[in-house]
Amino acid sequence: MSSDFDTAGSPATETLVVNAKESVRERRAAQIQRVGDHLKREWQLYIMLLPMVVWLIVFLYKPMYGLQIAFKDYSIFKGVANSPWIGFEHFQTLFSNDQFLRAVKNTLIISAYGLLFGFPVPILLALMFNEVLSQKFKKTTQTIVYLPHFISSVIIAGIVITAFSPSAGIVNTILGWFGVDSVYFLTRPEWFRPIFIGTGIWQEAGFQSIVYLAAIAGVSPTLYESAVVDGASRWQMMWKITLPSILPTIIIMLIIRIGNILEVSFEMIILLYQPATYSTADVVNTFIYRQGLQGGQYDFAAAAGLFNAVVAFILVMTANAISKRFSRTSLW
């Protein structure tokens, strides 16, 4: 490379340098040849990969590039690239915006309650399914409790709205039997979270139990056999054998849930909330939806979205890292 070296070096170093250069060049050439050969043999694989990669770039990575509008004064006419930079202005507005702060708070509260009440249910269900002796009964009940998972949120919301309606809804009818006055639940902020979380449990708990049932299926039968010989009752076996055996799965699911704590099913919230319940129902994503998609403040809403995405990413990666450590010893 350097001519200094060539002139200054002794003949010995010179040949050494030349050799080194040559071998580098040779290796380069061999490498290019190898890649060429590989492409000649395997080009079809890359053709197969191409459409999917193009899709990922166009529909998922290009929007990431578009995230820069969070730092820009975005104008539809100028487009993403040509709108002027304004730094962190949107973020400053965001963190002094009461509605946004409320949305962050609501997201965390709804998630936390969802976790607290929703997380144990599928585990309990799985433990209970495992204790059912009649296969027919087990199959039938499982078929029923998995069903709501496949029903769209619009329908679920429709059912909820109908069931909780003040005049005709079954809930108020039943309350009426006990002399309670009809309540318009869906306009009451204090009722939104219980209804939303309860609906979530009703819809997903059955289906989520599948993971735990699979873990239970992996427990060695010899453990139970020796417990029977030792005279353990089924109740004891459930707590002393089954539950500890699926503990790794439980921990991993918990970590994953915590990692996704910002992910509230906002689609359902959009369907169930109304201005009267914003104070307890509005979460970050519904806030973004209203400000951005309904209100047209794209750049500001994108800033909220970026904040959300970055925090979520950190949480998810942390959860992944932790669960990887656990999963080494577990099935899942």
């Binding site: 050969d37 590989h38 000649k40």
Partner: protein
């Protein structure tokens, strides 16, 4: 000329070299068997011939044509896999005919070829069955049928019998041999099993750590192993290796083993090297058991006698190392208990250089 020619074939994974320059010439119609310990590069070599692994260096010729960079399908070779790789969703007929269909042969041609092959392999009654409904031996046959039907120039086998039980293995081994006689296609066969190697091979290639140790007919390898590795690898139980020192006597060279003296053949290499270390190799079959104290015999301590019907194995200790003798029981059972020494005819002793492990053969039998 459907030979296969390997010249300096190497293979490296990343920077890690696993095959170090293999030279091998397989003649047309020859049946060559690659053997060697696990991980020595047999499969890798075979797969490079098949075109399933890229060749890192050297040149590979099939039929005098360099095929290093030819796709597997254009090399005109067929391979039988260890797990057979029968397509589970196709029946026997379609499994055998798969290659022909891919090559867009006519329906009639496919049908008649498949029928012929099924006839050869005795699969005619099973054509409509799925692989899952076949026995191990039948699956093996289908795998062979899939290879045969295309009438390739070369057959490659990677441990095709290792998934079968001992009895079926013997049976299929004979069948492969018969097929090879009948079809006369050049074959390269990888195995762990030295009995397979000995019975099937026209020539055996012994590999070790990505290199060829020796190539030769089964008898050549058995009688004149080129080095201690081959000597110990072939034969069961393996050849006994005994450290010794060269000595001289009136009747010729001797090996001094402890206090005993074992007469050796008059090998030119042994002249003028009295006192040097050698290893003598004695096959268990060739050591003749002698009663304790026999004059001129090497004393040993017998620890265990295993009787295998017509034969017995004497497990003994010599110089703190195991020493095995295989002997017939019919003639000698009455004196097995008294054995405390052995003798060997000098021509049955193999002599190896202690340092390099190379055989001192005397008549240039080495490859």
């Amino acid at each position: 000329m459907s030979g296969v020619n390997l010249e300096g074939i190497t293979k490296a994974y990343g920077g890690f070299q696993v095959v170090h320059g293999i030279d091998l010439e397989v003649q047309e119609k020859e049946f060559v068997v690659l053997v060697g310990p696990s991980g020595c590069g047999k499969s890798t070599t075979l797969r490079m011939i098949a075109g399933l692994e890229e060749i890192s260096g050297g040149s590979l010729k099939i039929d005098d044509r360099v095929v290093n960079r030819i796709a597997p399908k254009d090399r005109d070779v067929a391979m039988v896999f260890q797990n057979y790789a029968l397509y589970p969703h196709l029946n026997v007929e379609d499994n055998i005919g798969f290659g022909l269909r891919i090559r867009k042969e006519s329906k009639e041609k496919i049908a008649s070829s498949v029928e012929e092959v099924a006839g050869i392999l005795g699969l005619t009654d099973y054509l409509k069955r799925r692989p899952a409904d076949l026995s191990g031996g039948q699956r093996q046959r289908v795998a062979m049928g899939r290879a045969i039907v295309r009438q390739p120039k070369v057959f490659l086998f990677d441990e095709p019998l290792s998934n079968l039980d001992a009895k079926l293995r013997t049976q299929m081994r004979a069948e492969i041999k018969r097929l090879h006689k009948r079809l006369g296609v050049t074959s390269i066969y990888v195995t762990h099993d030295q009995v397979e190697a000995m019975t099937l091979a026209d020539r055996i290639v012994v590999m070790h750590d990505g290199r060829i140790e020796q190539v030769g007919t089964p008898m050549e390898l058995f009688q004149y192993p080129a080095n201690t590795f081959v000597a110990e690898f072939l034969g069961s139980p393996p050849m006994n290796m005994v450290e010794a020192t060269v000595g001289a006597s009136d009747s010729g060279p001797i090996a001094i083993v402890g206090s005993a003296q074992v007469p050796l053949r008059r090998l030119p290499e042994l002249q003028n090297c009295v006192g040097e270390k050698i290893i003598i190799g004695i096959r268990p079959e060739f050591a003749v058991p002698q009663p304790t104290g026999t004059k001129g015999a090497v004393p040993i301590t017998v620890d265990l006698i295993e009787t295998l019907g017509s034969e017995a194995l004497l497990h003994a200790t010599l110089q703190d190392k195991p020493f095995v003798i295989r002997t017939e029981t019919m003639t000698s059972s009455n004196r097995l208990e008294n054995v405390g020494a052995f003798t060997v005819p000098p021509e049955m002793i193999r002599v190896f250089d202690a340092e390099s492990g190379r055989a001192l053969l005397g008549q240039g039998k080495a490859q």
